[in-house]
């Protein structure tokens, strides 16, 4: 099913919790349409009714959609290329990376800012953050990159982030492109320290996209970095694909319409968030905060939360007030969208069973498929399930996704099945599939 069909802007829809009664009340002065915002948000409860006086669990779907319209001029980029030049990059891979960096330089404009950091055991700032004026000179520097020894990923990320941070003020779309082909082997190597660093950089407005090349890198780490840093995750299987992926990421980046998205879910006293599928919420006093990836023009993403509802007497209640703050990439202004999620508690159980929201139900199915996939990948990584069993699990998950219209992801899974049957390891592809499913792509 085409994604755009999921959003129903039509008149009253019985299936849906109606939160805003547009065109309803004749006594009320209708407000003029507010200034066009680059993204919109819709929050939907899994059911507009709940059984009164009884505790229950419910889901809340937050859908975010960016309009496909061209905004004004694009905001300039503040981009850092963080390039692995460990010994294993020797030969073709490094040559393709240089070519890819060259493409990036060609695509940038003079008001964009670029920095280039390389890492092996040591970290070098090949080019400090500055405007892309003399493209030829920049490319010459890039062409001088040579391979070293080990992989000090942590310090590479730290150095790249500080290059981005060295440009003061807003007005730029910040992004680091982290390219690596291996596990960290020097410096700080543990998963939690590295993703902790990345999360800290994200809180300062630095988004990181991770690009994993070849069969040796740690897909769990790179997907974890992208997840916490709000960027994208790519698996590049062959060296000749490197330039294409860089180009794709850069084009995506140039269409970012909203960045630094932060969802705050304010909860009424008797409500608790149990989980946000595939997300890492931080919990406050009667609230949960979720960081969401940057949004590109014409794209959609979502967050699905499971909430625990305490018993309520009959009546209409706000379960949650959802606030989304983000920075509009064309104006640089911070915008806020908010919406209430309302549920009516009733003694009439038939109302509850008749009003399950099919859209939310579909998203729950997708979240389940993603969890199944995660379990299969972990099972394969730890060799707890056989390739044959993995294929069986993947077939099931694929069927679930096909029935929910997730065609692209279903195709990825078929590719993974083919990989297993051909004796190859599919975890790197599947990690990307999980990541995209969890983003609501």
């Amino acid at each position: 099913m085409d994604k755009t069909q999921m959003f129903n802007n039509g008149p009253f829809d019985n299936e849906r919790t109606q939160l805003s009664g547009f065109g309803g009340d004749p006594n009320r002065t209708q407000m003029a349409t507010p200034g066009q915002k680059s993204i919109s948000m819709e929050c939907t409860a899994g059911n507009r009714y709940a059984v009164a006086t009884r505790g229950s669990r419910e889901h809340v779907l937050v859908s975010i959609r960016a309009s496909g319209a061209m905004g004004g001029a694009r905001m300039p980029l503040n981009l850092c290329l963080i390039i692995d030049r460990s010994a294993s990059m020797e030969g073709q891979p490094l040559e393709y990376v240089k070519r890819a960096c060259g493409y990036v330089v060609d695509l940038l404009e003079p008001n964009d800012i670029l920095s280039v950091v390389t890492f092996e055991e040591r970290v070098d700032v090949l080019m400090p953050a500055r405007r892309v004026v003399n493209k030829q000179l920049i490319k010459e520097h890039i062409n001088r990159i040579e391979c070293g020894n080990t992989t000090n990923l942590y310090d590479g990320i730290a150095a790249g982030s500080s290059q981005i941070a060295s440009i003061p003020g807003g007005g730029y779309v910040n992004r680091a492109l982290l390219f690596t082909d291996g596990d960290p082997t020097a410096g700080i190597k543990d998963f939690s320290s590295i993703v902790g660093l990345v999360a800290e950089q994200k809180s300062r407005g630095v988004t990181i996209t991770s690009l994993g090349f070849g069969g040796e890198y740690n897909e769990e780490l790179l997907a974890g970095i992208a997840k916490r840093a709000g960027g994208n995750y790519y698996y590049i299987s062959r060296p000749e694909l490197i330039p294409e992926v860089f180009r794709k990421e850069l084009e995506t980046l140039m269409t970012v319409v909203a960045r630094n998205l932060r969802l705050r879910v304010n909860l009424s006293r008797w409500v608790q968030v149990r989980q946000a599928y595939g997300k890492l919420p931080t919990f406050g006093d009667k609230s949960a905060d979720i960081t969401l990836p940057d949004v590109e023009r014409g794209s959609a993403e979502s967050a699905l939360l499971e909430v625990e509802l305490g018993g309520r007497p009959s009546g209409t209640y706000r379960v949650s007030k959802v606030e989304l703050t983000y920075e509009d990439s064309s104006t640089g202004r911070t915008e806020t969208l908010e919406q209430d999620v309302v549920i009516e508690f009733t003694a009439d159980e038939s109302l509850v069973s008749a009003n399950v929201n099919p859209q939310v139900e579909r998203e729950i199915e997708v979240a389940m498929a993603s969890r199944n996939l995660e379990r299969t990948v972990m099972g394969m990584r730890t060799q707890q399930i056989s390739p044959a069993a993995a294929v069986g699990e993947l077939q099931k998950t694929k069927a679930m996704l096909v029935s929910q219209g997730k065609v692209v992801q279903a195709r990825d899974i078929q590719q993974a099945i083919d990989d297993i049957n051909g004796g190859a390891a599919p975890e790197k592809t599947l990690m990307g599939t999980i990541y995209n499913l969890d983003r609501g792509k």
Binding site: G21, D25, M31, S40, E42, G284, D285, P313, Y317, R318
Partner: protein
């Protein structure tokens, strides 16, 4: 279809003031008919319970709360406990803890009338009450105020101290009760501590536990900001990880940094080979070489300075 607040809909809402553009809308505060919380004027929903303020509750029959206790993590996030068995784990459990060190099915906390029974259900990283490991299949009694560790996630059990348990504790182990009370006092806000929990409201009134200020206090570390870390008898591990008895979340402190042992009034501090070192009054400790502490010593774990007080 997200909208500005100004455009928020009137979901069957009675207009409080005639909708004339000439009249400034009055802001009249509203008392929620369900929970009696006063919300500022202009709010559509009760600020506390979310009730649609313009509607009338169909019935005001009290909702029987089934919450008999809570697990509270270090961030203050609360997980309700219901009567009977509460499963704890990372997937499809009553208490859902999304942490990599927590097993999918990790533990079970059974609440019956007057007691909390904790059982490990075969977790990978174990369940601990204080420093004691809960062996799978051997349930142990836990009490409100106890700190329970699932994998590396620490939670405090909150709830009424049921009368029967209080008596048993008093008879059995005065010292244990004191430490429980001390932990409650440290862990909770004084206002919160006097709050009546739902369980108390439902059960027989509980005799308040008396706290004498002149009771001897335990040895402790005091940080510059007033944070106190109690040193219990026996071994107290110090480190960045939450599983330490004294967990100090500073990035320069090693995950397992040092250990302080309290034995018959003698306190010894041992560095466990930490990256950034342990210092007593400015002297760096050699790793694994115990050093006796005296009252008032200045102890530094990496860059964190604490005063040792007996």
């Amino acid at each position: 279809m997200s909208v500005d607040k100004t455009q928020m809909a009137d979901f069957g809402r009675t207009q409080m003031v005639s909708p004339s553009g000439e009249v400034t809308q009055m802001a009249v505060s509203t008392t929620c008919p369900v929970c009696k919380t006063v919300s500022p004027g202009g709010e559509m929903y009760c600020a506390d319970c979310g009730f649609l303020l313009s509607s009338q509750p169909v019935e005001v029959a009290p909702v029987v709360s089934s919450v008999v206790g809570k697990l509270v993590d270090t961030s203050g996030r609360e997980f309700d406990l219901k009567p009977g068995a509460n499963t704890i784990g990372r997937q499809d459990t009553d208490v859902l803890v999304a942490h990599p060190t927590v097993s999918r099915s990790h533990a079970k906390l059974t609440v019956t009338g007057s007691s909390f029974l904790l059982e490990d259900t075969g977790s990978t990283n174990g369940t601990f009450v204080g420093n004691a490991k809960v062996e799978p299949g051997s349930p142990v009694q836990v009490r409100p105020g106890d700190e329970i560790i699932f994998g590396s996630v620490m939670m405090r059990l909150d709830g009424a101290l049921p009368e029967a348990v209080a008596e048993v504790v008093a008879a059995e182990d005065d010292a244990a009760l004191e430490s429980v009370v001390a932990e409650i006092l440290i862990a909770t806000d004084p206002d919160e501590a006097t709050d009546t929990t739902p369980a108390q409201a439902l059960s027989e009134p509980v005799e308040p536990v008396e706290i004498h200020e002149d009771e001897p206090t335990l040895a402790r570390f005091i940080a510059g900001d007033g944070t106190e870390y109690i040193i219990n008898p026996g071994e107290n591990t110090v480190g960045r990880r939450p599983s330490n008895a004294i967990a100090v979340p500073d990035p320069y402190i090693s995950g397992s940094h040092a250990v302080i042992t309290s034995e018959e009034g003698v306190f010894t501090l041992t560095d466990l080979g930490s990256t950034n070192g342990t210092f007593v009054n400015g002297d760096k400790l050699e790793p694994n070489a115990p050093r006796e502490l005296s009252d008032g010593d200045e102890v530094m774990f990496a860059q964190v300075s604490l005063r040792f007080v007996i």
